[in-house]
Subunit: 198 residues, 4 copies
Amino acid sequence: MDKVSKHAQKSNESYQRLMDAAFKVFGQYGYEKASIDLLAKEAGYTKGTFYLHFKSKEDFFLEFMDHKLSVYKQNFLPLLNSNTTFESIISQGINIFYKLSNEDNWIPLFFEFCSIAVRNENVKERMSIYYREWFKLICMVLEKGKQANKLSANLDLDITSRKIVAVLDGYNLQNSFVSNGYSLDEVEQLIKQILELD
Amino acid sequence: MDKVSKHAQKSNESYQRLMDAAFKVFGQYGYEKASIDLLAKEAGYTKGTFYLHFKSKEDFFLEFMDHKLSVYKQNFLPLLNSNTTFESIISQGINIFYKLSNEDNWIPLFFEFCSIAVRNENVKERMSIYYREWFKLICMVLEKGKQANKLSANLDLDITSRKIVAVLDGYNLQNSFVSNGYSLDEVEQLIKQILELD
Amino acid sequence: MDKVSKHAQKSNESYQRLMDAAFKVFGQYGYEKASIDLLAKEAGYTKGTFYLHFKSKEDFFLEFMDHKLSVYKQNFLPLLNSNTTFESIISQGINIFYKLSNEDNWIPLFFEFCSIAVRNENVKERMSIYYREWFKLICMVLEKGKQANKLSANLDLDITSRKIVAVLDGYNLQNSFVSNGYSLDEVEQLIKQILELD
Amino acid sequence: MDKVSKHAQKSNESYQRLMDAAFKVFGQYGYEKASIDLLAKEAGYTKGTFYLHFKSKEDFFLEFMDHKLSVYKQNFLPLLNSNTTFESIISQGINIFYKLSNEDNWIPLFFEFCSIAVRNENVKERMSIYYREWFKLICMVLEKGKQANKLSANLDLDITSRKIVAVLDGYNLQNSFVSNGYSLDEVEQLIKQILELD
DNA sequence: GATGAATGAGTTTTCATTCAT
DNA sequence: CATGAATGAAAACTCATTCAT
């Protein structure tokens, strides 16, 4: 293994470890209270290493956000190639959503994204992209439902996807603060009602 | 007069001015970046005066949150005594929600509440209370629908109120980041679908 | 003594002490290595107090420069109202210059001003003003020489004042690095040669 | 090969490139703000290479100073072997001085040397040597004037050379901050006055 | 020779909080 | 009631230097 690749490998490792640490630290402390010091220490490095990779805290946050939202969405891609029934795909989708939502730090992180986005155009832009991709992905899944004659040909997929996202976001919000809020079963039931599947 | 009894002084002018300033400053800068200096100056006072009324920034934030959420809910109380048709009450409610949501700083502030709540038990407790009261209020409205035979007697009001809140929250979230998201009409249509009014 | 004046008095005192500390600290360490920490400590305060009075290090430096250059020039004002012979006024002026130049920290500070001025437009602007006032003052003194028929009516005072300043600056520069450089007597002799007094 | 013998390696390409970079970078940013990173990059290398050649930033600066001042003086050596009239040699010297002074970065660098010298004995020592050599060189030129009977045999060359250097330094200082300061012609006129040539 | 990852001490700046007036 | 001077802890960011490759 030559010099170059050894250096590159080390660089990659520290980059990755900083990203991983960010998930934990930004989730746990929020953007403002997550210090670079803590972030770096959590990754097993010192501040200096952080600035070797990123030129500022905001820069890093943006990059981390891109990374995190991209990974988040990839979890849903298998739905597009699934061979099971449409109803089953819907259920699976909800389950994946549920699993991801319960990952430590994801919900706090998501609120952080929202909270910063309303004041920072760069972050807002990323949220916007994230939502659009979200809608598109759901539209693609719903399209399969139409092709399988499970959904009415009249159903406006754009609007429907937006409704579904609203219901899921609303569910997460509510469950963060109210124990014994409504259950996943009820989410599924509501989504099926929106899809006129029942 | 000790700090605790300060809660009783809500009629004070300085108290009110600080609350108003908080709505603006916390909304615009977020909790962490809103300095006491700025807060006090916005209210027309200096730091010293702030500490005359509140023992810490967190304390103040908590009291402000109580104040703000309480004022927020009061906007919906007229719905309970309204004499119009049930459908009209629903429409009115959605309109009030829409108007409040578009008030400057409300959405940023709400995200701030969420973002802090997931990490701070005191704030979380308040969010929890807020949501419960929200549910209760909607239940009371829906009860009128049942009495007017507009809603099925079988409809589980607890679950239904939760669904409605989710839809409204989800709508706000989405509209904060995606222009041309779904419209108020669609919200109303979806809520009516949930209520099986159509 | 009322509250206001007590507060104002304290404020004045800390401002003054910070200015005094600056003369010592900037002179001793130079702008870059003079930390706010040290500056404040030298004045008997902490960093926070510094930022109560000045919004940044650069801002402070500019204000300090104004202050210092203004005080510097005031030392020469008595020359304008002196009643002695023109030759004596010239000698006195050179002596004042000599005394000020040998004040601890003045020369280092002056080099600092020069060194920063070439890279910072704000500082350069101040240096430019300083020099122009310098020229003007010398012109006024020389004018007295003309009125007393000690100087040729043909002498161009603008050019002459510039030459004198150059000789004095050059003297200071040289004496900072070379011991046994040329003496004050020689400066006086050279200036008299420029003035065609000999 | 130890660090000390590095002085002998002045023919190295990397050495030369670092020296050239230093002229630019120290001139542009000043000693404190010129980072090794930038210095190395400007020379086409990386930090590591820098430390291969020099043991510290200060060390490098000292060596750079030696190098630069030595190159500076070499520009005047042709004057010693010139065959033209004494007056013409004087004019040539002033012109060389003028040309060098207007080289980008030279004046800022010179102020940097001064500014550091008053606080650093090593740097001061080099400035002292520089000035002494300067005086010596001028004395040698003036000696030619004496031999050609252009200068009075009574003229004290040591003192005269000091005066000339002061005038030149003063000219540079003044022209750095005041546009429309006195002109080269006036410098020449003043120097001739000092030499009693007029 | 040359690279660049990693460090850690140091720098400017902000800000919640206290307290004498 | 109200002020504002003073504090000190903590934050983002910089940079000379080292060293494994």
